[in-house]
């Protein structure tokens, strides 16, 4: 059997195991080990198997993961998000569907300190949906806006998915964080446009609320200072070159702790929950990353990426067609697989192909994350949809599906913009880091 055939067999086994409910990390590790052994013998395979997890777990650059996750947990559990929502409401007050716009704005703001889409969606479901229901908003537009806005968490820095991508593609974390900022802001704007367009067609879905007096709005607007400060210190410090990514994560987590303590939002029980949840999220990611590295050793041995390049070149696939094929592939995969797992499995295979076609790996990373983001919200298995349903179980899932459909056009539009104008993703990292 050729090494390429072993590679294809390995991919088949991996997909089968994942669909048979074997944890993604375990499936990747086992297939990686057995596949490597089939290519290069058990002695070498076990050597790699024994060393790689330690190398990953003692990798300094990965120390950003637990500290940024902790920053997000502290901000979430100390209740900073509700203040941010009030501030966003003050900003958009008076417009039809002001709370929908406020939800998307607050999600963007919170995603910028949280780094996790699921956490952003879960938090905003708790805060925004009850308020919108009280104000008479239709459940479809309220859940749709939370699901869509929540997905911004993985595009805006400090995105944990970007950290994973940086590691696997050997790009700088700073560059990836810088590359995600402008597309993230544009996507938030596109989500708002999608909401406004929906409300123009279905005006009954959102009432027009009276604007509060200016003084009151200004007072509420200031309430968002904690999140702004947190973002400014951690990510601003990173962009300004004051901190390395690890330092930014450490300072961010510490600032979140101080702010949470000052607002009396972190009693011991809540603080323990923050740490326990951070440990769970971190270890969940590390199990997958360690296994993904074992798996990527196998992928390299099988020469699958080279074979893919040869195939695609032989079929005379153009660059735009290639990107379109990859987007369709990721959107379909996103129906079944978690974003991080999808990136870890596929990037070692696709990145050589993409760079061979002359695309920038940083740009590809942003494209990939936007596509993964779509996977979080598109039916039938968008994770954000399930998070909302779990937190608001009285809303039928079909209504959430109906609500999310208009928002799906926004990431598609962003992908088109990114293909047409790659500088949207590349300008800031080039300007900041050369």
């Amino acid at each position: 059997m050729t090494v390429q055939a072993i590679g294809l067999l390995g991919m088949g086994c991996l997909v089968s195991l994942i669909f048979l409910r074997v944890p993604v990390g375990v499936a990747m590790g086992l297939v990686g080990l057995c596949g490597y052994a089939a290519v290069d013998g058990w002695v070498k395979a076990f050597r790699v198997f024994g060393e790689v997890p330690f190398d990953v777990a003692s990798n300094y650059s990965l120390s950003v993961v637990p500290m940024f996750v902790l920053m997000g947990e502290l901000a979430t559990q100390s209740g900073m998000s509700s203040q941010l929502y009030k501030a966003a409401k003050a900003l958009f007050a008076g417009a039809r569907g002001s709370q929908v716009l406020a939800t998307i704005g607050a999600c963007a703001g919170f995603g910028a300190v949280c780094g996790s889409s699921l956490a952003t969606a879960a938090t905003m479901t708790r805060i925004a949906i009850p308020e919108m229901r009280r104000a008479g908003y239709d459940d479809r537009i309220s859940t749709g806006s939370v699901a869509a806005g929540g997905s911004l968490g993985i595009l805006l820095p400090p995105s944990i998915v970007f950290v994973i991508y940086s590691l696997i593609s050997q790009q700088s974390v700073q560059k990836m964080f810088a590359a995600g900022l402008i597309p993230g802001i544009i996507l938030a704007g596109l989500y708002m446009l999608a909401a406004l367009a929906t409300l123009a067609i279905k005006p009954a879905w959102a009432p027009r609320e009276p604007a509060a007096p200016l003084k009151e709005r200004v007072r509420d607007l200031v309430l968002g200072w904690e999140v702004a400060l947190l973002f400014g210190v951690a990510i601003g410090g990173l962009y300004a070159g004051w901190f390395s990514p690890t330092e930014a994560a450490g300072v961010g987590a510490f600032t979140a702790f101080v702010l949470g303590t000052l607002r009396r939002g972190l009693p011991p029980a809540v603080l323990w929950n923050c740490f326990r949840d951070t440990i769970r999220t971190t270890c969940l990611l590390f199990v997958i990353v360690m296994s993904a590295f074992i798996f990527s050793y196998f992928v390299v041995q099988t020469q699958l990426p080279g074979m893919l390049v040869t195939w695609v070149t032989a079929w005379h696939v153009g660059p735009i067609e290639l990107v379109a094929i990859l987007i369709v592939f990721y959107v379909v995969m996103g129906c079944f697989l978690d974003g991080g797992g999808m990136i870890l499995i596929t990037v070692p295979i696709f990145l050589p192909l993409v760079t061979q076609y002359g695309f920038d790996p940083v740009w590809f990373g942003v494209m990939l994350v936007v596509t993964v983001e779509m996977g979080l919200i598109h039916p039938p298995v968008g994770m954000n949809i399930f998070v909302i349903q779990a937190r608001a179980p009285d809303i039928p899932i079909l209504r959430i599906y109906q609500g999310i459909i208009p928002f799906l056009f926004a990431p598609l539009m962003l992908l088109v913009l990114l293909i047409a104008f790659p500088q949207i993703a590349l300008w800031l990292p080039t300007w900041l880091y050369g």
């Binding site: 375990v26 300094y60 330092e247 450490g250 987590a253 510490f254 971190t282 270890c283």
Partner: protein
């Protein structure tokens, strides 16, 4: 037994949390000293790496104990309850095999680090010390998985009984 495993996993999670808090404080301390006193904390790099190993390998038992790993559940709607319970159990057994193999093959590089006297670059700390959380954390994770497999087995048997 349940309580005992739960406690052990809980203690390791607590130690993992302490390591995380230490990492944050160390990093902030280093930033402050570097910027205001122009004297960074020597060995921050080594210590952060060592603390990361503690965070990860003392935290791994928790993730297996609460069955928190990412799985794909699309098949659940197509097969019966008993079959789903069986797949749960199979996933648990494969997880046990995976971590068991991992643990047994991490001894060799750990012993190499000990025998060759490997040390970290800044502090000269023996690298073998960093292997200790690995060698201690993984068996606890294995214990946690065994406990989970027991629970899954009971669920599988219960799923077969008429209601």
């Amino acid at each position: 037994m349940t309580l005992w495993v739960e406690r052990l996993v809980g203690w390791l999670t607590a130690l993992s949390s302490v390591a995380l808090a230490s990492m944050v404080l160390l990093t902030v301390g280093d930033v402050l000293r570097s910027n205001f006193l122009h004297r960074p904390i020597i060995g921050t790099f080594d210590l952060v790496e060592a603390l990361l190993v503690v965070i990860v390998f003392f935290g791994v038992p928790q993730i297996f104990f609460v069955e928190g790993n990412i799985t794909v559940d699309v098949i659940d709607h197509l097969i019966g309850k008993r079959a789903v319970a069986f797949l749960h159990m199979t996933g648990g057994i494969l997880s046990f095999a995976y971590l068991g193999l991992l643990w047994s093959h991490m001894f060799a590089p750990a012993l190499d680090a000990l025998n060759f006297g490997d040390v970290t670059s800044d502090l000269g700390m023996p690298v073998f010390w960093m292997w200790l959380p690995v060698l201690f954390g993984l068996p606890v994770a294995l214990l946690a998985i065994l406990f989970v497999i027991g629970r899954q087995f009971a669920q599988w048997r219960a799923a077969g009984k008429p209601e």
